[in-house]
């Protein structure tokens, strides 16, 4: 009888261990002080597509310091050198990038041919990476260090575009597989992806021959924890060194000195349906705009972890400060009990709360408001079809390319693909189209702000708050890279 128990437990043990998740990497081999210890990071969004570099997972790779592109974005939203040391515009459609000396994590050199091949692979991906939507692009090697990129139409923001994580440069080995691109050991960043466990965890090792110098941490153990409370708990129990995107509700549970706040390009706005319903009338839109008290939202709902809405672009877009133009607006009308539906989604817990505060503010002004709260993917198509009178939406205003005009063209012009406000205004379209043709950065920014003023003037969008992202960083950790574009987090200088 006893023997059978023993046999049973012997058989059971491997079965049981198979039912547990394996811990990312060899967490205990954290090395001596010289070589630096491993960092433990809790990320919010689990990889959805096996860390494919062409979708949203590309951001994960970029945040962890695995992949790099030809260019990067600096704090002001300008393109700065990454794998390309410099670049110049040869003519309207052609740019020449000069590469720096670097090696891939598989040991091969970063050659112009390899870079051109990587970019070509990106253009052939289906669906196309977001940074390349609506753009045709060819890349070819030019001499020993040059890569010539030619676009189908003149593209003044190409260096910004190439900073997108989805246009990361990988070695030829990454593209060997038939159905997927493999970033493990084929990228150029300071850390090399060595192991992934489904969408649960991943392990990175330091890449010693990184062109920017050897990283301080010997490796990174990443856990993907979708639940915000759970991420905050992980930091509080010391199970992780860095916890990404701590929800506002949990911020107060963290120690003051572990809470790092940074402005983001995400703006939460109230979008008013300008094509049908009560808000077809500009005077009512103006009434709604006047009813909204955005500082009450920033303080009351976001507990001060957000800035009151100033425009489409927030304080993270540093160049917009001081250059902003005052929009010309119509006089507010009397809502007279107009019935409206206000929709939002619950993927971010603050949005339903913000919507409830808005409901009260709008009702005080004379509207009658019904709320509709759903999961985002159940809401979006109805919102795009204009089924709601108003939508509260958080939107990244420097989407994918880092070009400030992309969001204006996509969200507020007649042909815009994401025009939830259903806005179709000649002035707006003209202003956006004019700005899109300008190549000079400063002038382009001025024109973008003029277009922003035209859009705000229609009152189809009421900026509510500009969110700050709260990153939980353990007290012993230094060198975390917090940027408003949410593209970096761990870099060569990050250590604990």
């Amino acid at each position: 009888m006893r023997r059978r128990h023993l046999l049973g437990s012997l058989l059971l043990a491997p079965l049981l261990t198979a039912c547990f998740a394996s811990q990312g990497g060899d967490a205990d081999s954290s090395g001596d002080a010289d070589s630096g210890s491993r960092l433990r990071v809790a990320l919010a969004f689990p990889p959805a597509e096996n860390l494919s570099p062409y979708g949203a997972d590309a951001t994960i790779l970029s945040r962890l310091g695995v992949t790099e592109g030809l260019t990067a974005l600096d704090a002001n939203g300008d393109a700065t050198p990454a794998l390309a040391r410099s670049w110049r515009r040869e003519n309207d459609r052609t740019w020449l990038f000069t590469l720096r000396e670097a090696t891939f994590q598989d040991g091969s050199d970063v050659t112009p041919a390899a870079v051109a091949a990587a970019l070509t692979h990106a253009t052939e991906a289906r669906p196309a990476p977001a940074a390349l939507s609506g753009v045709t692009l060819t890349a070819e090697a030019d001499g020993g260090t040059g890569v010539r990129v030619t676009t189908g139409a003149p593209d003044p923001v190409l260096p910004l575009r190439l900073s997108s994580p989805s246009l990361a440069v990988l070695s030829a080995k990454a593209y060997d597989g038939k159905d997927r691109v493999d970033p493990a050991g084929t990228a150029t960043g300071p850390f090399e992806l060595t192991k992934t466990v489904g969408s649960t965890s991943a392990a990175l090792d330091r890449y010693d021959d990184y062109w920017g110098g050897r990283a301080q941490a010997s490796g990174v153990d990443v856990r993907f924890i979708a639940d915000g409370t759970a991420r905050a708990s992980a930091l509080r129990t010391g199970e992780t060194d860095i916890a990404e995107a701590v929800p506002v509700a949990q911020a107060a549970t963290l120690d003051e000195n572990t809470r790092k706040e940074s402005a983001t390009t995400r703006t939460t706005s109230l979008l008013l349906n300008a094509a049908s319903g009560p808000f077809e009338n500009p005077a009512l839109r103006a009434a709604a705009r006047r009813a909204v008290d955005s500082s009450a939202l920033a303080q009351g709902v976001y507990e001060g972890h957000a800035d009151p809405g100033a425009g489409v672009y927030g304080p993270a877009v540093t160049w917009a400060e001081g250059k902003r133009q005052q929009p010309r607006r119509v006089k507010a009308g009397d809502p007279d009990g107009a019935r409206i539906t206000l929709a939002t989604y619950d993927n971010r817990p603050e949005l339903p709360e913000a919507a409830q505060v808005l409901k009260q503010q709008l009702e005080k002004a004379g509207f009658r408001v019904t709320l509709e709260v759903r999961e985002y993917s159940r809401l979006e198509s109805d919102a795009l079809k204009g089924r709601f009178d108003a939508v509260v939406l958080a939107r990244n205003t420097l989407v994918d390319t880092g070009d400030p005009l992309a969001v204006l063209a996509g969200d507020y012009t007649c042909d815009g693909g994401f025009n939830i406000a259903q806005l179709c205004d000649q002035n707006v379209d003209r202003a956006v189209r004019k700005a899109e043709t300008i190549a000079d950065t400063g002038e382009r920014q001025d024109a973008a702000l003029a277009a922003e003023a035209a859009i705000l003037g229609t009152d189809a969008v009421v900026p509510l708050v500009h969110q700050r992202v709260i990153t939980g960083v353990g007290t012993s950790v230094s060198g975390v890279l917090l940027d408003p574009y949410e593209r970096t987090l761990v870099g060569a200088g990050t250590r604990r």
Partner: protein
Amino acid sequence: MSALVWRAVLAAALVCGIGLLPWLTRTDPALTVLKARSADRDPGPAVLADIRAGLGLEKGPFALLGQWLGGLWRGDAGRSWLSGDEVAPAVLHALGVSLLLMAVALAVAAVTAALVCARTLWLGAHRRLDGRRAGGGGSAVLAALPEFLTASVLATVVGVQWGWLPALGWYGPQWTVLPALALGLPAGAVIGRLLDDLLPGAFAEPWALAAAARGLPGRRISRQAVRRCLPGLLPNLGLFVVGLTGGAVAVEQSFDIPGLGRTTLQAALAQDLPVLQAGTLALVLLAAVTAALAALATRWLVGPALRDGALPSLHRPSPPARRILPLVQGGLLIVVVALGLPRDPLALDTGERLRSPSRSHPFGTDALGRDVLARVAHGALDTLLLALAIGAVTLLTGVLLGLLPRLSGPLVDTVNAVPPVLLALLVTAVAGSGPATPALAVGVVAWAPLAAHTSALLRQERAALHVTATRGLGADRWYLLRHDLLPAVLPPVVRHALLRLPGIALALASLAFLGLGAQPPSPEWGLLLAENQPYAERAPWAVLAPAAVLALLGALAVSAAGGVAGGRRRRGRAGPRTPAAAATEAPAASRELVKTG
């Protein structure tokens, strides 16, 4: 054999239903897949067309379904639409994790159930049960605890603040404790309640008296009593096993466990059909296996007695009704509602957010500065009425279908195995998103445990001696049903249904994120719990108040049910309640038949 065919038909219908889901709800899978892959991506027509081409959506649902089924034959469950990974290994791994979690939770549930029944067992073993009131207020409170609340409290207090056990992840045995507690406590409380309900009947049976007279130790009598009652519970235990395996979403999320519940939830939202089909099929298979095991166990426990019709009836000698307790509980509930009703549940003031209880806000305020007492009171009526209405309908359906075990058995298992979100999506697909849909989506699952309970009790009751006697006197099936079977089966099932009332209220709220059910700022109780959960640590009162009234409702339902059922029994069968009287009940019923017939 026919049961097997019926089971297969149900599973096939389910898989086909999932395969057609996007086309029935008219929700483009290309869009949901895109949003699950990358929420910020604009859904331009070119992008959607590329995804459609990549997934082969143009071929239409039937071709896709055929392709998937063809692959299934070879053990290939296709590739995930989301990640492109092979589905079978991923789903099997998640299933393994969930089964382990469920096994530990079941152990916790067993201990909880034992604790709930301990008093009855002890009293019964010492022959002191007569005239004692059944306990159970505590277990009803425990059964009404929402899993997500227990989970977050355990994770925060035990895991983070005390640091006794790891609160996050799934790396070894010590990681299983807290999630298993969160799942096992309410489940154990329900099972314990049901067992506690049957035990006095078993102790009142002649064999127990004989055993006691012969000097058998009380422990052995108790063990036999539990064994005697288990068959009535096994089907429900099976339902719990399957339900916990696939439906532990909240617990998996708060403890970051890569289980099947989360996998299917994500797949359901993204309409990742291959994963959804494979996950559901695995759960339905698990349900079938569990049901078969439960049947085997029943046969092993009481098989010969069932076959020979030699079971005494499990009539519980009715305890003196509790007159005071339900009044106290009901009174408390009424006082809370009465105090809160004059207050405004919607007036928000963000300057007053998360205030702790004070004179001006007896229950504190929530994250938007609203008075929690007002919200609890104003939500009471809606919550109670809706939960009661759904509860009544599910009770009726459950009992009716429970009378037809051959038809309902496989149906119960299948319905119970399907993750609730998926079921809600399927119901929405069929019924549209009208006002009745959330009630329908909840009701479509809630009847299952009641039907299982009815069937199990009925099976035993049919084998009882007095039924044989009545049949021998020429009673037809209707007479038997009305005068012998239903009166015996109904009271425990009604008490069971009442025990599940708080669960119905919670289930309603869990559908809100699909745009079904109550929408903010409505103060519906389930919604109150959900919206205050993120603040559970900073403002515990905002979740504790609705949780407490929900628990109070559970306790009230149970204690009031005891009174109701007891009252009816007394009217039917007068006389002192002694085991001897219980044993002579059957002839009394037969005499009645002779008189009326």
